[in-house]
Symmetry: D2
Subunit: 289 residues, 4 copies
């Protein structure tokens, strides 16, 4: 079991009528339970929560009035320790489940349709399996320079492949793209991750479908993937933006605190204790997804 406490505060200046779509809440999956969480929007407003059917991503949407807007989210999350067998095999295309097939298709930032030859050239000779996806992740780590400011929000994987620089989402996009080009379904995962080196921030990694399951890879090697507190899962970054703003809104501040409580031994589901430990948790979650 892993336990994490995350807290983020996002502040915006709203210049006019605006609508906000948030995707910052920890996902509820078979491997991740939200023990307690709290979302506070100031000024208080009516908001609607919904869970996207396909992805399981949890969204909150609301209208924001002109002025300042402050969003604070805190969660205490418990994650299963995932043991990934070292010998997972790639699934031949004809046995990829119907609902997974579309993770083979190119998407906005992952133009796998133009990278088949490059992917085959670099990785086509390797034994199919989890080792090959690891080789993709290793190659990205070794070939792409992690450089904040080297890419923008519309940078695509093929641009990263040419320019050989980017940030975590670019690394993940390239991993996804190369996998898809090898006929391995792949998708983006974003979440909170505790980095040994500050500052803490949202993080993006990728997930490949091998051996009949989704397996996480982080080509940045900035943190072990089992530290990922999953928030969003999607085809690429456009599906999992933590905040989509409609209207004249600009961010003024973003802070994040992440604690990894690896040695925690408290049993799962003892919400009161957890809540006490986490502070004023107002919205305990009773059932695990």
């Amino acid at each position: 079991m892993h336990f994490s406490k995350v807290e983020t505060v996002l502040e915006y200046r709203v210049g006019g009528e605006a609508h906000v779509l948030l995707n910052i809440e920890a996902a509820k999956t078979s491997a991740q339970a939200v023990i307690s969480e709290e979302l506070v929007i100031e000024p208080a407003c009516d908001f609607e929560s919904f869970c996207d059917e396909g992805s399981g991503n949890r969204f909150v949407r609301f209208d924001a009035a002109p002025g300042s807007l402050k969003i604070r989210y805190r969660a205490h999350v418990q994650r299963s320790h995932v043991v990934v067998p070292p010998d997972l095999e790639e699934v031949p295309v004809n046995r990829i489940p119907n609902e997974v097939l579309h993770y083979l298709m190119p998407s906005r930032y992952c133009e796998s349709d133009v990278m088949s030859r490059a992917a085959q050239q670099l990785f086509g000779h390797l034994t199919p399996g989890i080792g090959r996806v690891q080789a993709v992740a290793d190659w990205i780590h070794d070939s792409i320079v992690y450089e904040p400011g080297s890419s923008v929000s519309t940078t695509t994987a093929s641009e990263v492949f040419v320019e050989r620089a980017g940030v975590c989402r670019d690394f993940a996009h390239l991993g996804i793209t190369l996998c898809r080009a090898l006929n391995i379904p792949a998708r983006l995962v974003v979440g909170y991750v505790w980095f040994d080196e500050p500052p803490q921030d949202f993080h993006a990694v990728f997930e490949a479908w091998i051996g009949g399951r989704w397996v996480l890879f982080d080509p940045t090697r900035m943190a072990p993937v089992d530290r990922v507190v999953r928030v969003g899962t999607g085809r690429d970054a456009k599906d999992v933006a933590f905040c989509t703003l409609f209207g004249p809104v600009s961010m003024t501040s973003k802070t994040m605190t992440i604690e990894e409580l690896q040695d925690e031994s408290a049993p799962v589901g003892v919400a009161p204790t957890s809540a006490a430990r986490a502070g004023a948790i107002e919205k305990p979650v009773a059932t695990l997804a």
Copy 2:
């Protein structure tokens, strides 16, 4: 009521073990019923049919052995006459249903994230509503040259916007992109359409979400949109390829026959009669979607 008979024959040369994903069957929707249809794959093979949950697209997938491959699909389809009110209003972003929201996001061939300013500049001053989407379609018709060979399968909407030439899918992609950039959800629709001028072929148009419903637009003006026998609906062309080939397969021939039976007065559901009229229909469809 509109009645159409469509028939297409696709021939391929298969050079090795391959897997084929077809999306050529007429969709079954509240506005379109398949009276009868027949899909023949030669050489005969086991195939699996499934319907994609989100889109309703009907897929067939199968393994193809080396040699020649022939796919023949015939259908007799009935479509409701759709009356589109002339005064449909755009839905403000904050009232777009949750499940429609993702049709606002950029996709592989529709980079709406880089075209906001262009869309606002060209159409921002127009009264929101169906007339504005029609203006987008009209502008595309007037500004983009329809020129076979001017684009490739990976051409994106922003490239079409720059180069001002393309084919039907490029026209539709640009329409989708401009709508999304205006905060109007939009998506691609492909299908069979009877053109006054041969040759018959698959066609692509776009659909915008206005007044709480999806409305079709064809910026090519090659045929009235109510002739569209819908096959696939998706974010863009990557979601609705009529045939996705995994392995060494190349198309050798494609033929298509489409008949529009506009004056037909036979009641819907009289399958035997329809079947008789359509020829050897082997797979009558009893229930309408």
Copy 3:
């Protein structure tokens, strides 16, 4: 006659053996004379000056040693008042001089080869002549948002055309591209310009070949074009970078002072007086180009 005094100080941190190619000296043309100028490089080093044959651009190149590097350039420049007749006609392609022809060709940041249709569509119906080029500049002014940070050093004109935002060099690149696409030779001009609103900086405008001569246009409208103290002229920004750095060098500071002395009546060539006025001018220029 216009008189300008320009001074710029560029500071760099040099991390290892490096080579520097400067293009910051005022050009010497039939319309622009350098009354006096001074270039100081600290630490002092041997440098080579040369004038590029085709463009007339003045370059200085030198090796820079690790440590800090400071480049100071001051000049007192006199420019003829250029009267542009309002009725200059476009020159048909078959009468464009041989040596001007290559300004019709696409270049790194000016992909006129993909914008013919767009250019024809927007400006093809206008009467050929200087008015049409002015219409190009006006359209850019009205259509592109001037927004620092919206583009990078590798942004091209077609990207600016799509994204509708940029800075002065992007505006100029788009002007060049649209002109070339209309078969009007065009090129980039960079220089010092006194802006009414600070901060002062290098500026980029474009020049079109009309009526048998080069005529300046500034689609940003940030300053009258006759304030341009010309430094470099080229196919696009890659030809006229004010500083090209080979090696581990990063800029630490850039300051610029520009004075426009419009009412000055002193005769040209009275170097001592000018020198006195400009301060310690160490390198008077005796001959006008």
Copy 4:
């Protein structure tokens, strides 16, 4: 000594007033002499010949009237046997001559400004020198698939790097781009080359500036570079199009005959003999460039 006979016939349909700029005549350089040549344009027309100062490229330009246009060029060319020492060294940037410097800059189809990291990564560890440029050419040969139809006239080197397919000009563009990104000046050379396997066609190779001289490389390995009958030299393909058409002109036919006369022992300059052998040579060239 190498002797070549080349003949090309280009046919066009001219739909309206047009202007034609040809660059199909064999270059006259210190290593290549044109023994005899003939250019016939039908219908006959006044044409102007000029030699571009920077590149030495020979251009012919003329107005074409509506109707059919036939251009026939024949030449008998003698080339020195070029011995390239196997140990040529790269020239450090600070010793690259002024007039060669601009072959380091990015150009329309060679975006070396976005490929520095990729070039360093692939070739930065190799010993500088002719061997490194050969490694670039070898890598291109091994990594890029030669596939007619895989690229278009506006395809750039970075696109070829991503898509890993192209034709000779794409191979050459990528070679140029990688060299420039390594601070090795490089440029495009087009010409006639006798291929062992037909059809004969124009060919494109690249030239890198090493050891103080230009050295040819052909990453396609379609023919030894000393078979190149040089026609044009430029920054990239935009500088050396064999035919630039202004107006409604379309090519209807292109044929080419190239003979490599390797064992020829006739002395250079015996024009009558050559002329007799070549047929009706109307324009003997007396002096070698």
